[in-house]
Amino acid sequence: MQIHTVYTLLAVIIWIIVGTLIAVVARKGLGKGLSEYFIANRKIGGFVSALTYSATTYSAFMMIGLAGFAYKGGVGALGFELTYLAGLMLVVFFGPRFWLVGKKFGYVTPSQLLSDRYQNKGVAFIAALLCLIFLIPYSAVQLMGVAYLMEVLSSGGIPFIVGLLVAIIIAIVWAWIAGMRSVAWTDSLQALVMIITATTITFFVIYKGFGGFGGFFNKLELNYSQWLTLPGPGFFSFKVYLGLTLPWFFFSISNPQVSQRLFIPKSMRALKQMCGGFLIFGFVYTVITVLWGFSARLLCPDLSVADKASPALLALPLVPTVLGLIAMVAIMAAAISTIDSIMLSLSSIFAKDIYQNVKTEVKEERVLWVGKFIIPVIGVTAFFFARARFGLISTLSVASSAGLLMMVPTIIGAFLWRRGTAAGAIASMTVGAIITATMYITKWYPLGHWPGVWGGIMCSLVFIGVSLLTRPPRKRAEEFIDYLDKTLVEKNAL
Protein backbone atom coordinates (compact mmCIF):
# COMPACT_ATOMS: atom_id res chain seq x y z
CA MET A 1 0.00 0.00 0.00
CA GLN A 2 1.48 3.30 -1.04
CA ILE A 3 -0.05 6.07 0.96
CA HIS A 4 0.41 9.33 -0.80
CA THR A 5 1.91 12.26 1.09
CA VAL A 6 -1.18 14.38 0.39
CA TYR A 7 -3.54 11.81 1.96
CA THR A 8 -1.27 11.46 4.98
CA LEU A 9 -1.13 15.21 5.43
CA LEU A 10 -4.88 15.51 4.98
CA ALA A 11 -5.54 12.89 7.66
CA VAL A 12 -3.18 14.67 10.06
CA ILE A 13 -4.69 18.10 9.32
CA ILE A 14 -8.26 16.89 9.96
CA TRP A 15 -7.16 15.34 13.24
CA ILE A 16 -5.34 18.54 14.29
CA ILE A 17 -8.38 20.72 13.48
CA VAL A 18 -10.84 18.50 15.37
CA GLY A 19 -8.52 18.18 18.40
CA THR A 20 -7.80 21.92 18.52
CA LEU A 21 -11.50 22.75 18.33
CA ILE A 22 -12.12 20.44 21.29
CA ALA A 23 -9.26 22.06 23.23
CA VAL A 24 -10.65 25.55 22.52
CA VAL A 25 -14.14 24.51 23.65
CA ALA A 26 -12.59 23.07 26.83
CA ARG A 27 -11.06 26.49 27.54
CA LYS A 28 -14.51 28.05 27.91
CA GLY A 29 -14.99 26.42 31.31
CA LEU A 30 -11.51 27.37 32.52
CA GLY A 31 -11.40 29.20 35.85
CA LYS A 32 -8.45 30.75 37.67
CA GLY A 33 -5.67 29.26 39.75
CA LEU A 34 -3.16 26.43 39.81
CA SER A 35 -5.58 23.73 40.82
CA GLU A 36 -7.95 24.77 38.03
CA TYR A 37 -5.24 24.69 35.36
CA PHE A 38 -3.33 21.56 36.37
CA ILE A 39 -6.05 19.29 37.77
CA ALA A 40 -9.24 20.96 36.45
CA ASN A 41 -10.22 21.91 40.01
CA ARG A 42 -10.97 18.21 40.76
CA LYS A 43 -14.17 18.45 38.73
CA ILE A 44 -13.81 15.95 35.90
CA GLY A 45 -16.65 13.47 35.42
CA GLY A 46 -16.25 9.69 35.42
CA PHE A 47 -16.44 9.12 31.65
CA VAL A 48 -13.82 11.73 30.70
CA SER A 49 -11.64 10.66 33.67
CA ALA A 50 -11.69 7.06 32.39
CA LEU A 51 -10.79 8.08 28.84
CA THR A 52 -8.00 10.50 29.81
CA TYR A 53 -6.58 7.90 32.22
CA SER A 54 -6.62 5.31 29.42
CA ALA A 55 -5.17 7.59 26.73
CA THR A 56 -2.42 8.83 29.04
CA THR A 57 -1.48 5.34 30.16
CA TYR A 58 -1.42 3.72 26.73
CA SER A 59 1.16 5.37 24.51
CA ALA A 60 2.43 4.58 21.01
CA PHE A 61 4.26 1.74 22.76
CA MET A 62 1.13 -0.40 22.46
CA MET A 63 0.68 -0.54 18.70
CA ILE A 64 4.40 -0.38 17.98
CA GLY A 65 6.22 -1.91 20.97
CA LEU A 66 3.68 -4.40 22.33
CA ALA A 67 2.70 -5.61 18.85
CA GLY A 68 6.45 -6.06 18.30
CA PHE A 69 6.77 -8.05 21.54
CA ALA A 70 3.96 -10.37 20.41
CA TYR A 71 5.62 -10.67 17.00
CA LYS A 72 8.99 -11.52 18.50
CA GLY A 73 8.18 -13.22 21.80
CA GLY A 74 4.64 -14.60 21.51
CA VAL A 75 2.03 -14.91 24.23
CA GLY A 76 4.34 -13.51 26.93
CA ALA A 77 3.43 -10.09 25.49
CA LEU A 78 -0.18 -10.70 26.51
CA GLY A 79 0.85 -11.75 30.02
CA PHE A 80 3.17 -8.77 30.37
CA GLU A 81 0.57 -6.17 29.42
CA LEU A 82 -2.27 -7.83 31.36
CA THR A 83 0.00 -7.88 34.44
CA TYR A 84 0.35 -4.16 33.94
CA LEU A 85 -3.45 -3.85 33.82
CA ALA A 86 -3.63 -5.89 37.02
CA GLY A 87 -1.66 -3.02 38.57
CA LEU A 88 -5.11 -1.47 39.05
CA MET A 89 -5.08 -3.64 42.18
CA LEU A 90 -2.95 -0.84 43.59
CA VAL A 91 -5.38 1.87 42.48
CA VAL A 92 -8.28 0.31 44.35
CA PHE A 93 -6.19 0.61 47.52
CA PHE A 94 -4.30 3.83 46.86
CA GLY A 95 -6.68 5.65 44.48
CA PRO A 96 -9.18 6.70 47.18
CA ARG A 97 -6.24 7.63 49.45
CA PHE A 98 -4.71 9.92 46.80
CA TRP A 99 -8.12 11.41 46.04
CA LEU A 100 -9.11 12.02 49.67
CA VAL A 101 -5.87 13.63 50.86
CA GLY A 102 -5.63 15.57 47.60
CA LYS A 103 -8.98 17.15 48.34
CA LYS A 104 -8.39 17.63 52.06
CA PHE A 105 -4.90 19.14 51.87
CA GLY A 106 -5.17 20.72 48.38
CA TYR A 107 -2.41 18.78 46.63
CA VAL A 108 -1.85 19.48 42.94
CA THR A 109 1.07 17.11 42.30
CA PRO A 110 1.98 13.70 43.73
CA SER A 111 5.41 14.99 44.80
CA GLN A 112 3.73 17.83 46.71
CA LEU A 113 1.79 15.14 48.59
CA LEU A 114 5.03 13.36 49.50
CA SER A 115 6.75 16.57 50.54
CA ASP A 116 3.88 17.58 52.84
CA ARG A 117 3.47 14.11 54.32
CA TYR A 118 7.19 13.77 55.11
CA GLN A 119 7.43 17.48 56.04
CA ASN A 120 10.46 18.05 53.86
CA LYS A 121 10.91 20.03 50.63
CA GLY A 122 13.88 17.88 49.63
CA VAL A 123 11.50 14.93 49.12
CA ALA A 124 9.53 16.91 46.53
CA PHE A 125 12.73 18.11 44.91
CA ILE A 126 14.19 14.60 44.48
CA ALA A 127 10.86 13.17 43.31
CA ALA A 128 10.51 16.03 40.81
CA LEU A 129 14.05 15.49 39.56
CA LEU A 130 13.41 11.77 38.99
CA CYS A 131 10.27 12.57 37.01
CA LEU A 132 12.12 15.09 34.82
CA ILE A 133 15.13 12.82 34.23
CA PHE A 134 13.10 9.80 33.21
CA LEU A 135 10.03 11.26 31.56
CA ILE A 136 11.54 13.80 29.15
CA PRO A 137 13.52 11.06 27.29
CA TYR A 138 10.38 8.90 27.35
CA SER A 139 8.45 11.74 25.66
CA ALA A 140 11.29 12.19 23.15
CA VAL A 141 11.03 8.53 22.12
CA GLN A 142 7.26 8.90 21.66
CA LEU A 143 7.90 11.90 19.39
CA MET A 144 10.44 9.91 17.39
CA GLY A 145 7.85 7.14 16.95
CA VAL A 146 5.31 9.58 15.48
CA ALA A 147 7.89 11.16 13.16
CA TYR A 148 9.13 7.77 11.87
CA LEU A 149 5.57 6.63 11.26
CA MET A 150 4.69 9.75 9.25
CA GLU A 151 7.91 9.43 7.28
CA VAL A 152 7.28 5.74 6.43
CA LEU A 153 3.58 6.06 5.61
CA SER A 154 4.12 9.11 3.39
CA SER A 155 6.96 7.22 1.63
CA GLY A 156 9.43 9.88 2.74
CA GLY A 157 7.14 12.74 1.65
CA ILE A 158 6.96 14.03 5.24
CA PRO A 159 10.56 14.18 6.49
CA PHE A 160 11.40 13.04 10.06
CA ILE A 161 12.05 16.58 11.27
CA VAL A 162 8.67 17.82 9.99
CA GLY A 163 6.91 14.93 11.74
CA LEU A 164 8.72 15.82 14.98
CA LEU A 165 7.73 19.49 14.67
CA VAL A 166 4.07 18.67 13.95
CA ALA A 167 3.87 16.29 16.93
CA ILE A 168 5.50 18.60 19.45
CA ILE A 169 3.53 21.67 18.36
CA ILE A 170 0.22 19.79 18.72
CA ALA A 171 1.21 18.45 22.13
CA ILE A 172 2.28 21.91 23.37
CA VAL A 173 -0.82 23.68 22.04
CA TRP A 174 -3.29 21.11 23.37
CA ALA A 175 -1.65 21.12 26.80
CA TRP A 176 -1.25 24.90 26.93
CA ILE A 177 -4.73 26.01 25.80
CA ALA A 178 -6.61 24.97 28.95
CA GLY A 179 -4.25 22.74 30.94
CA MET A 180 -5.88 19.60 32.29
CA ARG A 181 -9.24 20.52 30.73
CA SER A 182 -7.93 20.59 27.16
CA VAL A 183 -5.70 17.57 27.78
CA ALA A 184 -8.55 15.53 29.30
CA TRP A 185 -11.00 16.42 26.53
CA THR A 186 -8.58 15.83 23.65
CA ASP A 187 -7.44 12.63 25.39
CA SER A 188 -11.05 11.45 25.36
CA LEU A 189 -11.28 11.91 21.60
CA GLN A 190 -7.92 10.22 21.14
CA ALA A 191 -8.81 7.27 23.38
CA LEU A 192 -11.93 6.63 21.32
CA VAL A 193 -9.94 6.85 18.07
CA MET A 194 -7.33 4.44 19.49
CA ILE A 195 -9.73 1.73 20.62
CA ILE A 196 -12.16 1.91 17.68
CA THR A 197 -9.38 1.89 15.09
CA ALA A 198 -7.36 -0.91 16.67
CA THR A 199 -10.47 -3.09 17.01
CA THR A 200 -11.69 -2.41 13.46
CA ILE A 201 -8.35 -3.14 11.82
CA THR A 202 -7.73 -6.30 13.84
CA PHE A 203 -11.16 -7.72 13.00
CA PHE A 204 -10.71 -6.66 9.37
CA VAL A 205 -7.31 -8.35 9.05
CA ILE A 206 -8.45 -11.53 10.85
CA TYR A 207 -11.58 -11.93 8.70
CA LYS A 208 -10.02 -10.81 5.44
CA GLY A 209 -6.67 -12.54 5.93
CA PHE A 210 -7.70 -15.77 7.70
CA GLY A 211 -11.45 -16.10 7.19
CA GLY A 212 -12.19 -15.50 10.87
CA PHE A 213 -10.86 -16.31 14.35
CA GLY A 214 -11.00 -20.10 13.77
CA GLY A 215 -8.71 -19.87 10.77
CA PHE A 216 -6.46 -17.37 12.52
CA PHE A 217 -5.93 -19.51 15.62
CA ASN A 218 -5.49 -22.69 13.55
CA LYS A 219 -2.81 -21.07 11.47
CA LEU A 220 -1.10 -19.76 14.59
CA GLU A 221 -1.08 -23.21 16.24
CA LEU A 222 0.12 -24.85 13.03
CA ASN A 223 2.92 -22.46 12.09
CA TYR A 224 3.93 -20.73 15.31
CA SER A 225 2.97 -23.10 18.12
CA GLN A 226 6.02 -22.01 20.12
CA TRP A 227 4.63 -18.46 20.18
CA LEU A 228 1.76 -19.79 22.31
CA THR A 229 4.01 -20.87 25.18
CA LEU A 230 6.44 -19.31 27.63
CA PRO A 231 9.34 -18.72 27.38
CA GLY A 232 8.26 -19.24 23.77
CA PRO A 233 10.73 -18.54 20.97
CA GLY A 234 13.19 -17.22 23.55
CA PHE A 235 12.52 -13.57 24.24
CA PHE A 236 10.35 -13.98 27.35
CA SER A 237 12.69 -15.88 29.69
CA PHE A 238 11.41 -15.77 33.27
CA LYS A 239 13.98 -13.14 34.24
CA VAL A 240 13.01 -10.89 31.32
CA TYR A 241 9.31 -11.34 32.14
CA LEU A 242 9.90 -10.43 35.78
CA GLY A 243 12.17 -7.51 34.85
CA LEU A 244 9.56 -6.10 32.48
CA THR A 245 6.43 -6.67 34.55
CA LEU A 246 7.69 -5.51 37.96
CA PRO A 247 8.12 -1.79 37.12
CA TRP A 248 5.00 -1.78 34.97
CA PHE A 249 2.86 -3.32 37.68
CA PHE A 250 3.56 -0.25 39.84
CA PHE A 251 3.14 2.23 36.94
CA SER A 252 -0.25 3.46 38.17
CA ILE A 253 1.19 4.93 41.35
CA SER A 254 4.79 5.61 40.27
CA ASN A 255 4.20 7.67 37.10
CA PRO A 256 3.09 11.22 37.98
CA GLN A 257 1.10 11.81 34.77
CA VAL A 258 -1.06 8.83 35.79
CA SER A 259 -1.15 9.22 39.59
CA GLN A 260 -1.96 12.95 39.22
CA ARG A 261 -5.16 11.81 37.49
CA LEU A 262 -6.25 10.29 40.81
CA PHE A 263 -6.81 13.91 41.96
CA ILE A 264 -9.13 14.92 39.12
CA PRO A 265 -12.45 12.99 39.46
CA LYS A 266 -15.23 15.14 40.90
CA SER A 267 -16.53 12.45 43.27
CA MET A 268 -15.96 8.92 44.53
CA ARG A 269 -18.55 7.84 41.98
CA ALA A 270 -16.46 9.43 39.20
CA LEU A 271 -13.33 7.73 40.60
CA LYS A 272 -15.20 4.44 40.51
CA GLN A 273 -16.24 5.03 36.88
CA MET A 274 -12.65 5.93 36.03
CA CYS A 275 -11.38 2.58 37.38
CA GLY A 276 -14.13 0.58 35.69
CA GLY A 277 -13.78 2.35 32.36
CA PHE A 278 -10.02 1.96 32.35
CA LEU A 279 -10.19 -1.77 33.16
CA ILE A 280 -12.55 -2.44 30.25
CA PHE A 281 -10.57 -0.22 27.87
CA GLY A 282 -7.25 -1.76 28.93
CA PHE A 283 -8.42 -5.34 28.59
CA VAL A 284 -9.87 -4.86 25.10
CA TYR A 285 -6.96 -2.73 23.86
CA THR A 286 -4.35 -5.21 25.14
CA VAL A 287 -5.94 -8.31 23.62
CA ILE A 288 -6.53 -6.51 20.32
CA THR A 289 -2.93 -5.24 20.13
CA VAL A 290 -1.49 -8.70 20.82
CA LEU A 291 -3.74 -10.20 18.11
CA TRP A 292 -2.45 -7.45 15.81
CA GLY A 293 1.14 -8.56 16.56
CA PHE A 294 0.23 -12.22 15.92
CA SER A 295 -1.42 -11.25 12.60
CA ALA A 296 1.80 -9.55 11.55
CA ARG A 297 3.72 -12.70 12.54
CA LEU A 298 1.57 -14.77 10.19
CA LEU A 299 1.30 -12.30 7.32
CA CYS A 300 4.77 -10.68 7.36
CA PRO A 301 7.03 -13.33 8.91
CA ASP A 302 10.41 -12.08 7.69
CA LEU A 303 10.84 -8.74 9.42
CA SER A 304 14.29 -8.10 10.84
CA VAL A 305 13.04 -5.59 13.42
CA ALA A 306 9.99 -6.53 15.53
CA ASP A 307 8.96 -2.87 15.99
CA LYS A 308 8.17 -2.78 12.27
CA ALA A 309 5.37 -5.34 12.74
CA SER A 310 2.60 -2.70 12.84
CA PRO A 311 3.83 -0.54 9.94
CA ALA A 312 4.38 -3.74 7.88
CA LEU A 313 0.87 -4.97 8.65
CA LEU A 314 -0.63 -1.60 7.69
CA ALA A 315 1.35 -1.61 4.44
CA LEU A 316 -0.16 -4.95 3.28
CA PRO A 317 -2.39 -4.77 0.18
CA LEU A 318 -5.28 -6.31 2.13
CA VAL A 319 -5.49 -3.22 4.37
CA PRO A 320 -7.36 -0.45 2.52
CA THR A 321 -5.62 2.94 2.30
CA VAL A 322 -8.27 4.65 4.38
CA LEU A 323 -7.83 2.16 7.24
CA GLY A 324 -4.06 2.60 7.08
CA LEU A 325 -4.46 6.36 7.39
CA ILE A 326 -6.86 6.06 10.31
CA ALA A 327 -4.42 3.67 12.00
CA MET A 328 -1.62 6.20 11.56
CA VAL A 329 -3.79 8.86 13.21
CA ALA A 330 -4.61 6.38 16.01
CA ILE A 331 -0.93 5.69 16.69
CA MET A 332 -0.20 9.42 16.64
CA ALA A 333 -3.14 9.96 18.99
CA ALA A 334 -1.73 7.38 21.39
CA ALA A 335 1.64 9.15 21.39
CA ILE A 336 0.34 12.74 21.62
CA SER A 337 -2.15 11.94 24.38
CA THR A 338 0.73 10.58 26.46
CA ILE A 339 3.19 13.37 25.61
CA ASP A 340 0.84 16.28 26.40
CA SER A 341 -0.17 14.66 29.70
CA ILE A 342 3.48 14.17 30.65
CA MET A 343 4.33 17.77 29.69
CA LEU A 344 1.45 19.15 31.74
CA SER A 345 2.32 16.95 34.70
CA LEU A 346 6.02 17.84 34.56
CA SER A 347 5.26 21.55 34.26
CA SER A 348 3.04 21.42 37.37
CA ILE A 349 5.79 19.50 39.18
CA PHE A 350 8.42 22.04 38.13
CA ALA A 351 6.27 25.02 39.15
CA LYS A 352 4.98 23.60 42.42
CA ASP A 353 7.77 21.37 43.67
CA ILE A 354 10.87 23.12 42.41
CA TYR A 355 10.07 26.79 41.72
CA GLN A 356 7.66 27.35 44.64
CA ASN A 357 9.93 25.48 47.03
CA VAL A 358 12.84 27.73 46.13
CA LYS A 359 10.79 30.97 46.07
CA THR A 360 8.56 30.46 49.07
CA GLU A 361 6.93 33.91 49.21
CA VAL A 362 5.76 33.90 45.63
CA LYS A 363 2.11 34.47 44.61
CA GLU A 364 0.00 31.70 43.08
CA GLU A 365 -0.40 33.64 39.80
CA ARG A 366 3.36 33.72 39.42
CA VAL A 367 3.67 29.95 40.04
CA LEU A 368 0.96 29.34 37.43
CA TRP A 369 2.78 31.61 34.98
CA VAL A 370 6.00 29.63 35.50
CA GLY A 371 4.07 26.38 35.00
CA LYS A 372 2.59 27.61 31.71
CA PHE A 373 5.94 28.95 30.56
CA ILE A 374 7.64 25.65 31.26
CA ILE A 375 5.23 23.60 29.08
CA PRO A 376 6.86 24.70 25.79
CA VAL A 377 10.31 24.54 27.42
CA ILE A 378 9.77 20.86 28.25
CA GLY A 379 8.34 20.30 24.78
CA VAL A 380 11.32 21.95 23.06
CA THR A 381 13.75 19.94 25.25
CA ALA A 382 12.01 16.70 24.26
CA PHE A 383 12.10 17.85 20.62
CA PHE A 384 15.88 18.41 20.68
CA PHE A 385 16.44 15.07 22.46
CA ALA A 386 14.37 13.36 19.75
CA ARG A 387 16.16 15.22 16.97
CA ALA A 388 19.61 14.32 18.29
CA ARG A 389 18.57 10.62 18.49
CA PHE A 390 21.12 10.00 21.29
CA GLY A 391 21.52 6.35 22.25
CA LEU A 392 21.28 7.46 25.88
CA ILE A 393 17.80 8.83 25.26
CA SER A 394 16.39 5.45 24.32
CA THR A 395 18.19 3.86 27.28
CA LEU A 396 16.67 6.39 29.69
CA SER A 397 13.30 5.94 28.05
CA VAL A 398 13.44 2.17 28.52
CA ALA A 399 14.64 2.82 32.06
CA SER A 400 11.80 5.25 32.80
CA SER A 401 9.32 2.83 34.35
CA ALA A 402 12.12 1.17 36.37
CA GLY A 403 13.51 4.57 37.40
CA LEU A 404 10.13 5.81 38.61
CA LEU A 405 9.63 2.50 40.44
CA MET A 406 12.17 3.87 42.94
CA MET A 407 9.48 6.25 44.25
CA VAL A 408 7.14 3.40 45.18
CA PRO A 409 8.40 2.60 48.74
CA THR A 410 8.18 6.34 49.53
CA ILE A 411 4.62 6.53 48.15
CA ILE A 412 3.39 3.38 49.91
CA GLY A 413 5.13 4.48 53.12
CA ALA A 414 3.39 7.87 52.97
CA PHE A 415 -0.02 6.21 53.19
CA LEU A 416 0.65 3.20 55.36
CA TRP A 417 3.78 3.57 57.49
CA ARG A 418 3.82 6.21 60.22
CA ARG A 419 7.49 5.46 60.89
CA GLY A 420 8.61 6.51 57.37
CA THR A 421 10.90 9.56 57.31
CA ALA A 422 12.06 12.21 54.85
CA ALA A 423 15.66 11.00 55.10
CA GLY A 424 14.47 7.46 54.30
CA ALA A 425 12.50 8.74 51.31
CA ILE A 426 15.34 10.87 49.91
CA ALA A 427 17.96 8.14 50.39
CA SER A 428 15.69 5.47 48.92
CA MET A 429 14.80 7.42 45.76
CA THR A 430 18.38 8.60 45.18
CA VAL A 431 20.08 5.22 45.74
CA GLY A 432 17.43 3.35 43.74
CA ALA A 433 17.60 5.74 40.77
CA ILE A 434 21.41 5.73 40.67
CA ILE A 435 21.53 1.91 40.79
CA THR A 436 18.87 1.53 38.09
CA ALA A 437 20.30 4.14 35.71
CA THR A 438 23.87 2.83 36.15
CA MET A 439 22.79 -0.74 35.43
CA TYR A 440 20.87 0.28 32.32
CA ILE A 441 23.73 2.42 31.01
CA THR A 442 26.46 -0.16 31.70
CA LYS A 443 24.13 -3.07 30.80
CA TRP A 444 25.26 -4.86 33.96
CA TYR A 445 22.51 -7.24 35.09
CA PRO A 446 23.75 -9.23 38.14
CA LEU A 447 22.55 -12.88 38.06
CA GLY A 448 20.66 -11.97 34.89
CA HIS A 449 18.01 -9.95 36.76
CA TRP A 450 16.92 -6.59 35.35
CA PRO A 451 17.79 -3.22 36.96
CA GLY A 452 14.20 -2.63 38.12
CA VAL A 453 14.38 -5.78 40.26
CA TRP A 454 17.70 -4.82 41.92
CA GLY A 455 16.78 -1.16 42.24
CA GLY A 456 13.39 -2.09 43.69
CA ILE A 457 14.94 -4.33 46.35
CA MET A 458 17.63 -1.79 47.23
CA CYS A 459 15.36 1.25 47.47
CA SER A 460 12.90 -0.66 49.69
CA LEU A 461 15.68 -1.74 52.06
CA VAL A 462 17.17 1.76 52.14
CA PHE A 463 13.76 3.35 52.83
CA ILE A 464 13.08 1.02 55.77
CA GLY A 465 16.64 1.10 57.14
CA VAL A 466 17.18 4.88 57.00
CA SER A 467 13.65 5.57 58.29
CA LEU A 468 14.27 3.38 61.34
CA LEU A 469 17.47 5.31 62.06
CA THR A 470 15.90 8.79 61.75
CA ARG A 471 13.01 10.70 63.36
CA PRO A 472 9.62 10.61 61.64
CA PRO A 473 7.32 13.66 61.37
CA ARG A 474 4.90 12.11 63.89
CA LYS A 475 2.31 14.89 64.02
CA ARG A 476 1.80 15.08 60.26
CA ALA A 477 1.95 11.29 59.85
CA GLU A 478 -0.83 10.90 62.42
CA GLU A 479 -2.98 13.69 60.97
CA PHE A 480 -2.59 12.23 57.50
CA ILE A 481 -3.09 8.53 58.25
CA ASP A 482 -5.77 9.02 60.94
CA TYR A 483 -7.78 11.18 58.53
CA LEU A 484 -7.58 8.44 55.92
CA ASP A 485 -8.47 5.66 58.36
CA LYS A 486 -11.58 7.56 59.40
CA THR A 487 -12.69 8.76 55.97
CA LEU A 488 -12.05 5.54 54.09
CA VAL A 489 -14.58 3.80 56.35
CA GLU A 490 -17.15 6.51 55.58
CA LYS A 491 -16.52 6.08 51.85
CA ASN A 492 -16.69 2.30 52.12
CA ALA A 493 -13.19 2.02 50.63
CA LEU A 494 -10.59 -0.49 51.83
Binding site: V75, L85, A86, S225, F238, L279, F283, K486, K491, L494
Partner: protein, 71 residues
Protein backbone atom coordinates in the same frame (compact mmCIF):
# COMPACT_ATOMS: atom_id res chain seq x y z
CA UNK B 1 -17.58 -2.34 73.99
CA UNK B 2 -16.14 -1.09 70.65
CA UNK B 3 -18.04 1.64 68.79
CA UNK B 4 -19.56 0.78 65.38
CA UNK B 5 -16.79 2.77 63.65
CA UNK B 6 -14.05 0.83 65.41
CA UNK B 7 -15.84 -2.42 64.62
CA UNK B 8 -16.13 -1.35 60.98
CA UNK B 9 -12.47 -0.40 60.87
CA UNK B 10 -11.55 -3.86 62.17
CA UNK B 11 -13.79 -5.44 59.55
CA UNK B 12 -12.17 -3.32 56.83
CA UNK B 13 -8.72 -4.18 58.05
CA UNK B 14 -9.61 -7.89 57.90
CA UNK B 15 -11.05 -7.48 54.39
CA UNK B 16 -7.96 -5.56 53.29
CA UNK B 17 -5.73 -8.42 54.42
CA UNK B 18 -8.02 -10.93 52.70
CA UNK B 19 -7.89 -9.09 49.39
CA UNK B 20 -4.13 -8.59 49.70
CA UNK B 21 -3.67 -12.33 50.13
CA UNK B 22 -6.01 -13.05 47.20
CA UNK B 23 -4.13 -10.61 44.95
CA UNK B 24 -0.80 -12.14 45.94
CA UNK B 25 -2.17 -15.57 44.98
CA UNK B 26 -3.34 -14.18 41.64
CA UNK B 27 0.05 -12.60 40.96
CA UNK B 28 1.79 -15.84 41.94
CA UNK B 29 -0.36 -17.76 39.43
CA UNK B 30 0.50 -15.19 36.75
CA UNK B 31 4.20 -15.89 37.15
CA UNK B 32 4.08 -19.64 37.86
CA UNK B 33 1.39 -21.31 35.70
CA UNK B 34 2.58 -20.31 32.17
CA UNK B 35 6.19 -21.21 33.02
CA UNK B 36 5.35 -24.61 34.57
CA UNK B 37 1.96 -26.28 33.93
CA UNK B 38 1.41 -24.71 30.51
CA UNK B 39 5.03 -24.64 29.36
CA UNK B 40 4.47 -27.54 26.97
CA UNK B 41 0.95 -26.70 25.80
CA UNK B 42 1.49 -24.93 22.44
CA UNK B 43 -2.23 -24.39 21.91
CA UNK B 44 -4.56 -21.45 22.03
CA UNK B 45 -6.21 -23.03 25.10
CA UNK B 46 -2.80 -22.97 26.84
CA UNK B 47 -1.16 -19.78 28.13
CA UNK B 48 -3.23 -17.54 25.84
CA UNK B 49 -6.53 -18.69 27.32
CA UNK B 50 -4.98 -18.76 30.80
CA UNK B 51 -4.02 -15.09 30.62
CA UNK B 52 -7.47 -14.12 29.35
CA UNK B 53 -9.26 -15.98 32.17
CA UNK B 54 -6.70 -14.87 34.76
CA UNK B 55 -7.18 -11.28 33.70
CA UNK B 56 -10.98 -11.49 33.79
CA UNK B 57 -10.86 -12.98 37.32
CA UNK B 58 -8.50 -10.17 38.38
CA UNK B 59 -10.76 -7.53 36.84
CA UNK B 60 -13.84 -8.96 38.59
CA UNK B 61 -11.92 -8.99 41.91
CA UNK B 62 -10.96 -5.34 41.43
CA UNK B 63 -14.56 -4.44 40.51
CA UNK B 64 -15.74 -6.15 43.70
CA UNK B 65 -13.70 -3.65 45.73
CA UNK B 66 -14.44 -0.37 44.01
CA UNK B 67 -18.10 -1.02 43.27
CA UNK B 68 -18.76 -0.45 47.03
CA UNK B 69 -17.25 3.06 47.14
CA UNK B 70 -19.73 5.82 47.95
CA UNK B 71 -19.76 9.62 48.28
Amino acid sequence: MPTPTIEKRRKFSKMRRGYLLWFLILLGLDYIVPYTLLKNVPRIYGSFLFYIIWSLITIVSIFAIFIRWRD
